[in-house]
Amino acid sequence: MTTLPTSPLTSPREDHSLSLRGSRGLVWSVLRLHRAALWIWLLLLAAVSATMLWAYGPGFDAAAADLRQQCRDSVVACHFPSGPWYGKYDTAVALSTLVVAYLPFLVAVWAGAALIGRELETGTAHLAWTQSVSPARWLAAKLAVPALLITAGTAVLIPLHRLMWNGGEELLWADWYDQDAFHANGTVALAYALCGLAVGALAGLLLGRALPALGVAFAAMLAITYLGNDYRPSMWRTVTVTGAKALNLPDDSLRLDQGVITTEGTRIGNNLACTDALDGAADLRRCMARGGLSDIWATYHPRSHFWPLQLAETGIVLAVAALAVIAAFVLLNRRVATASAAASVPPDRRTAAVGAAV
């Protein structure tokens, strides 16, 4: 008999119809084993969606009406919005942004601890592997089913959050590049959540225990999120302007750096010389001449860079997720027996299998 050379991730023995039939059972088993998590996910979706819809509609209207009234009564209130309705509205927006932005952490600790870590710790994963399901297909189902549910859920959350955010701009005083808002307002929310799933699963497989996997998954997501926030501005080409334009960047721009160019041509970053020359081009020229500068410049992301930045970061984070998934499969396949391992014993060695005879 011969062994077909196969990729470690697939088994040649499972023909298509069989693997489809088997998959349905696997999907059922993932949903049944993690039924509590499924309910919590649905409840969370419902609660956050309801909160965001309230904030978009009645919450915003009530707060705005209340503030208009206050503004008519006292000028101070126009500049310092407060009051019970505004408080409620602000809390609702802040909470729902928080949940959508930090959802990836929730997914990661769940995937590390409950989805994979606990199953390996108690041995119920091994129970599945000794039914008619290969470990690789088990892991594939463990990743695919939650991934689908996460995608479906965030596909509801992100548009709702955008609706609430865009609708409430005049009350929120927040910028498009605020970290939490950026995380909740676009496709990166989905990318980070899927990355959390992959990283959590990898941590669970790597450690094989629920609690350590929970900790490591959280720490890994913390690191990834931190790096994402840190390198976000460099994920899309910035705009640099010089002269008077550098003093008056378009509204809602994310100013990254500004500086001066000396008459010798040296470029100095992080320098605020002459930025107080607001009276016009003539004022600026006088100031530069006084300081021996030939020009000033500023680097920024205009608001129109929101989607390019979102998509670039989404791509990078999804690539990280893909790497984690590949690592998880490789790790699993190195640990358990796979179909590609040697299948038969050479005949001459087989006789040697038996020791001394009577």
Binding site: T130, S134, V336
Partner: protein, 314 residues
């Protein structure tokens, strides 16, 4: 696949397993063959490597060296055809008994025997009503006792209708009544379907009489293998005056002055002034465990198959 491979349920060649690189191996140069259709007791002291051997056979871990052939192929390829019950009887605690059986059905869609699984879990479909030990389908796994969980784990194994059952210490948690019942069910399964059954245990007494094949593990390898009757017949327990035992294989000997007690494999006729007796299975196993240097022994039957193979190939 050649025919002789179909007749062999388990075959190991030079099998070795080491968990951590710096620690010693759990299995070392372990070789044996188990013909199909046997009820095999895998016995040995704690830490002898029984669980490791069964995990290897179930494809849950990879050997560091050597090969293990399960039902004529690799453990991974044979996955659908064997059942494995781990020592800790892991079952999802949040499921009910009925949901656990459903899980077995969903994960073994191609070959699930619902009746067989429910017979083990809920007891035979007798009109007599409730039986002791039978499980309530609605009770959660979390609330079950160790023995009851063993029953569910075995029900999953039976429902798979396997050709080979690998059972790691299945009897340890069971009360004597349940032990008898489930052992009876295993024997019935083997008789009816020709299922090969491997049961590991460190208490040989609970399997004596039920098994027709014995594998004794010690020091990370198989020390004795074969039909227990034949293994016993190959050994003699003798008492008599101390004398040179050259020509016989001495498994264990104890000198008490001029009097000698020894368990030997006779290599020729024994002198008349020695009293001989047939050892019990327990005596045989203990003597081998106490003396790691005693040579390994596999009964002729296992080798015969081998010679036939050689002839067939020639």
């Amino acid at each position: 696949m050649s025919r002789d491979e179909e007749g062999i349920a388990l075959a190991a060649v030079g099998l070795g397993k080491r968990y951590r690189r710096r620690r010693g191996p759990v299995l070392r140069n372990c070789s044996f063959r188990l013909p199909a259709g046997r009820i095999c007791a895998l016995v040995g002291p704690n830490g002898a490597g029984k669980s490791t051997l069964l995990s290897l056979a179930a494809g849950l871990i990879r050997p560091t060296e050597g090969t293990l052939t399960v039902l004529g192929t690799t453990p991974a390829e044979a996955r659908t055809r064997f059942a494995y019950v781990a020592q800790s009887k892991p079952l999802p605690p949040q499921l009910t008994v009925a949901a656990t059986l459903r899980l077995g059905a969903e994960l073994n869609r191609a070959r699930w025997d619902r009746a067989a699984a429910e017979r083990i879990a809920y007891g035979p479909l007798a009109p007599g009503g409730d039986r002791d030990g039978a499980l309530d389908p609605t009770s959660k796994i979390r609330s079950l006792s160790g023995g009851q969980r063993t029953r569910v784990a075995l029900a999953l194994a039976f429902g798979k209708r396997p050709e080979l059952m690998l059972l790691d210490e299945p009897m340890a948690d069971l009360d004597p009544l349940a032990r008898r019942e489930l052992l009876g069910a295993l024997l019935g399964e083997a008789a009816e379907h020709g299922t090969t059954i491997v049961i590991s245990s460190h208490v040989i007494a609970e399997l004596e009489g039920a098994c027709d094949h014995l594998l004794l593990m010690g020091g990370g390898r198989i020390r004795l293998g074969g039909d227990p009757e034949q293994l016993l017949a190959a050994h003699t327990l003798l008492t008599g005056p101390a004398r040179d035992l050259t020509g016989h294989t001495v498994v264990e000997s104890r000198d008490a002055g001029r009097q000698l007690t020894a368990l030997i494999r006779p290599g020729g006729p024994l002198p008349d002034d020695w009293q001989t007796a047939a050892p019990s299975l327990e005596e045989l196993l203990l003597a081998h465990l106490r003396n790691p240097d005693a040579p390994d022994l596999f009964t002729e039957e296992t080798v015969e198959t081998d010679e036939n193979e050689e002839n067939a190939r020639a």
